[in-house]
């Protein structure tokens, strides 16, 4: 069992709201619609609702499993699988969080390439971003949590979806429930990557003050994300016809393009640049999780492991060149996330509940 995290490294429990909701915003908000609608058509919003609601169960499991006393998934792994095998599984988690970070970062770099700077070299953007990530993560968990708080500044941008909503056609979401349950579930499965981010809770759980009292904030975050995505997909389905939607790569950006005020046009630029505020914490949180696991399992200090992880991230981010490769990464991350959330976490939960019941307290 690890020692309790020092009080001056912990953060208030309600910060879990920002930490979860910022990771779930990511770059996926720009292009999730066409994937989900590809499976569930105009009923895609039901798929997202299903997915969002079922994840509440997972969050409940995580809180149940890790509370009393607060511990992280590394401890759970050790107590279930033994020290040696538990450590190996924890190290595999490093790979999972790393792929998450890679996916978030690469998806955003691609948007910058396609929408703003087609000629800018990938290594320049990736290098800048990774320098920034280094600066934040080396400040410790409080700094990572702090920067995820400032994603609140991007929330007003969501209200601008009212303008494409005005242009939309309400009849496009009718008739409701026109798709089979299988289609809806397929759509839900494919949308799992927009809910990435609650898994990091497994690692930073001991850093939260009074986690039980603030459990509701994790659920609020999930609820907020679900509502946000449902609203966006409703607006999208109303705005695009199904045929056009299949051929639009970033429907959210295409919709914001029509907004024009007297002093600013091309709103998608504003969106893309403001999204740095979202992307940096989204990548920082999994990277921090990587260094945390490495620190707990091996004796490697974050001062050493962080540059190594970031250099590997930089090199691998450069290897992706074409849209098809990034889309393959997206699919892979999606399947992996689905298994992680709906197989690994419930499995741990069941074993903890059934076999590792809290024994009567020893002195």
């Amino acid at each position: 069992m690890q020692k309790a995290v020092k009080e001056n490294h912990t953060i208030s429990g309600y910060f879990v709201f920002f930490l979860i909701s910022v990771s779930q915003t990511a770059a996926a908000i720009f292009n999730f619609q066409c994937l989900v609608a590809g499976e569930a058509g105009h009923d895609a919003w039901i798929s997202i609702l299903l997915m969002g609601l079922s994840l509440h169960l997972i969050v409940w499991m995580i809180y149940k499993m890790l509370g009393h006393p607060a511990k992280d998934v590394i401890d759970v792994n050790r107590s279930i699988f033994g020290t040696w095998l538990g450590n190996v599984i924890s190290l595999l988690l490093v790979g999972y969080y790393f792929i998450m970070a890679l996916f978030f970062l690469r998806a955003y770099i691609e948007i910058i390439h396609v929408w703003v700077f087609p000629a800018l070299k990938t290594w320049a953007i990736a290098g800048l971003m990774i320098l920034m990530i280094y600066y934040f993560v080396s400040g410790g968990f409080r700094v990572v949590a702090g920067v995820s708080f400032f994603f609140m500044l991007t929330i007003p941008l969501l209200f601008l979806f009212y303008i494409p909503f005005q242009q939309g056609d309400f009849h496009r979401i009718m008739p409701v429930l026109n798709h089979s349950l299988l289609d809806l579930l397929k759509g839900a499965g494919i949308s799992s990557y927009i809910f990435f981010g609650i898994e990091c809770l497994l690692i930073y759980f001991p850093f939260l003050k009074q986690p039980d009292k603030n459990r509701k904030w994790a659920h609020f975050a999930l609820l907020y994300t679900t509502i946000k995505y449902v609203v966006i997909i409703l607006v999208t389905v109303m705005y695009f016809s199904q045929g056009l939607l299949q051929h639009t790569l970033w429907p959210t950006l295409a919709m914001t393009k029509i907004i024009e005020l007297s002093f600013i046009a091309r709103f998608e630029f504003l969106y893309i640049f403001m999204w740095v505020l979202v992307i940096i914490p989204t990548v920082c949180i999994p990277i921090w999780c990587c260094t945390r696991i490495i620190k707990r399992v091996t004796t490697l200090k974050p001062r050493l492991s962080l540059p190594i992880v970031l250099i590997v991230l930089f090199i691998i981010a450069l290897m992706f060149k074409e849209r098809t490769e990034i889309s393959a990464l997206e699919k892979f991350a999606n399947v992996m996330g689905l298994w992680f959330n709906f197989a690994y976490i419930p499995l741990l939960f069941l074993i903890t509940i059934i076999f590792l019941r809290p024994k009567p307290k020893l002195s």
């Binding site: 953060i11 208030s12 910058i112 703003v116 700077f117 800018l120 320049a124 953007i125 800048l128 971003m129 920034m132 600066y135 934040f136 400040g139 409080r142 700094v143 702090g146 920067v147 708080f149 400032f150 024009e260 005020l261 007297s262 002093f263 600013i264 046009a265 091309r266 630029f269 504003l270 893309i272 640049f273 403001m274 740095v276 505020l277 940096i280």
Partner: protein
């Protein structure tokens, strides 16, 4: 006289203002040694010599002499260090003829000469409010601070810093309000300090700060009495330094620097409004010119068609890329500001007119810059002066330049990266161990109403809670019953 004491005193006597006189009273030789330039001659003659001259009884020992002189700053000493140090600070050393290995040290230093009598807070001006400021004399500062707060809870704690200057530093805090943790931190850092001459309290600030590699000020500094009193009341620690009219207080957060005391003298609606204007000024002055560079270099499509016309028209004859154009004008403004700060106030007004109007107009006519940029640059210069504290406004002006360069390299992405670096820096900063971005991060909702905007006094009865004061209430709220209720009395 022991040889060592004699040697030490003769070393000092090389100095021309060092005097040694001897008088004979009742058959006893009395030696006086002192720095002529430091002591108060009035006190020397009236309060010292006259008492010795009129004495009737025999003076046989040091203690006889000590009993004779009505002065509380008097002590018997025989150590060389103490004697030479006290002499250098304005004491008189008195020896009796047979007992030369010890003597009396009497502090009669001249405190009035060489000091300003008053300070009219010209550098932190406010229309309403007291104009009393601190001066270079530590005793005066302690007097006005004690008189202003008028409570025995105000504690002054003296420390001597500086291996050469032996400057007096006073830590002031409110007993029972200030969190002792902060007082201990300040005390510890001051005690651990080794420096030769402390010229200024702002210099001290840089020596005891948490992060010395930061453009942001980590202690609030002020010449205004009311501002320091307000900080003390909210549980901060103040550091006064002899010879400096600036008092520094900590822990500070970035929002402290945007507060002006005048906010509290105006009705709260106006106070909050002006404070919000200052926030806008800060954001505008940091970002305006870099946005200009980013938009004109990369994202001209972001400008609507109707607005694009005038901008292109004003830039059509300018031969430089936006980056050079902006840097040229920004540096001109910085030169004007720097020159204005160094020149006597009467000349600088003329300079403002020459620089601001003539240079600007000529630069546009010569086709070196565009009209629109001239407007933006002068507006952002103006906006940077709305910050009520000098140090933060310097920081803001400095931050513009990296942002402009980033904007010219990567457009809007560059600006966002710059902003994120600043944000990360602010998140990592600490002042006396307390976070610098509080009450935003860590988020303290209750403190927003007095630290971000200024709400009515009926809402801000608590002290600044994130300073963790020991007693939390400043005053109790009571309904004012004297106000006539027109509606019910009808």
């Amino acid at each position: 006289m022991t040889p060592n004491l004699h040697k030490a005193l003769s070393e000092i006597s090389k100095s021309v203002d060092y005097l040694q006189t001897t008088i004979k009273v009742n058959n006893t030789c009395i030696h006086f040694s002192y720095f002529n330039s430091l002591i108060s001659h009035e006190q020397f003659h009236h309060d010292l010599l006259s008492y010795i001259h009129i004495s009737e009884c025999e003076i046989n020992s040091i203690n006889d002499l000590k009993a004779l002189i009505p002065n509380e700053a008097i002590k018997v000493s025989s150590t060389i260090e103490e004697i030479s140090q006290s002499l250098a600070q304005g004491s008189v050393f008195i020896q009796l003829e047979p007992h030369l290995n010890e003597g009396l040290l009497i502090d009669i230093a001249e405190l009035k000469l060489g000091h300003r009598g008053y300070n009219d807070t010209e550098n932190e001006f406010s229309v309403i409010g007291p104009k009393v400021g601190f001066v270079e004399n530590l005793n005066t500062n302690l007097t006005i601070l004690r008189r202003g707060l008028g409570t025995p809870k105000l504690i002054f704690e003296e420390h001597i810093i500086g291996s050469v200057s032996k400057t007096k530093i006073v830590i002031a805090y409110m007993d029972g309000i200030t969190n002792p943790q902060y007082v201990n931190t300040v005390r510890q850092r001051l005690v651990d300090l080794d420096f030769d001459v402390v010229f200024e309290s702002s210099l001290l600030e840089q020596l005891i700060t948490d992060h010395s590699n930061s453009p942001f000020p980590l202690f609030l500094h002020s010449e205004r009495l009311d501002r320091i009193m307000y900080s003390l009341l909210n549980g901060e620690v103040a550091i006064l330094c002899d010879g400096s009219p600036v008092v520094i207080t900590g822990p500070a957060n970035i929002f402290n620097f945007i507060i002006s005391p005048e906010d509290y003298y105006l009705p709260w609606i106006l106070g909050s409004f002006f404070r919000l204007i200052r926030y806008f000024g800060i954001v505008f002055s940091t970002l305006a010119t870099s946005y200009y560079v980013a938009i004109l270099t990369f994202h001209y499509t972001i400008i609507p068609r109707d607005l694009l016309g005038p901008i292109i028209e004003s830039r059509v004859n300018v031969p430089f890329p936006p980056l050079l154009e902006v840097l040229f004008l920004e540096i001109v403004v910085e030169l004007l500001r720097e020159a204005g700060a160094r020149l006597p106030s009467k000349v600088s007004q003329t300079l403002g007119i020459v620089g601001g109007i003539i240079l600007g107009q000529a630069a546009v006519q010569a086709g070196l810059t565009s009209n629109i940029l001239l407007i933006i640059v002068s507006l952002s210069a103006l906006a940077s002066f709305t910050t009520p504290t000098f140090k933060l406004s310097n920081t803001i002006r400095f931050l513009r330049f990296p942002l402009i360069v980033l904007a010219s390299c990567w457009g809007g992405l560059g600006i966002m990266i710059g902003i994120m670096f600043i944000l990360g820096h602010l998140l990592r900063l600490k002042s006396l161990g307390a976070p610098y971005l509080v009450p935003l991060f860590p988020f303290r909702f209750k403190s927003l109403r007095d630290n971000i905007i200024r709400l009515s006094y009926s809402f801000s009865s608590d002290r600044t809670l994130f300073n963790r004061p020991i007693s939390k209430k400043r005053y109790t709220l009571q309904k004012n019953k004297d106000i006539e209720d027109d509606y019910n009395n009808e």
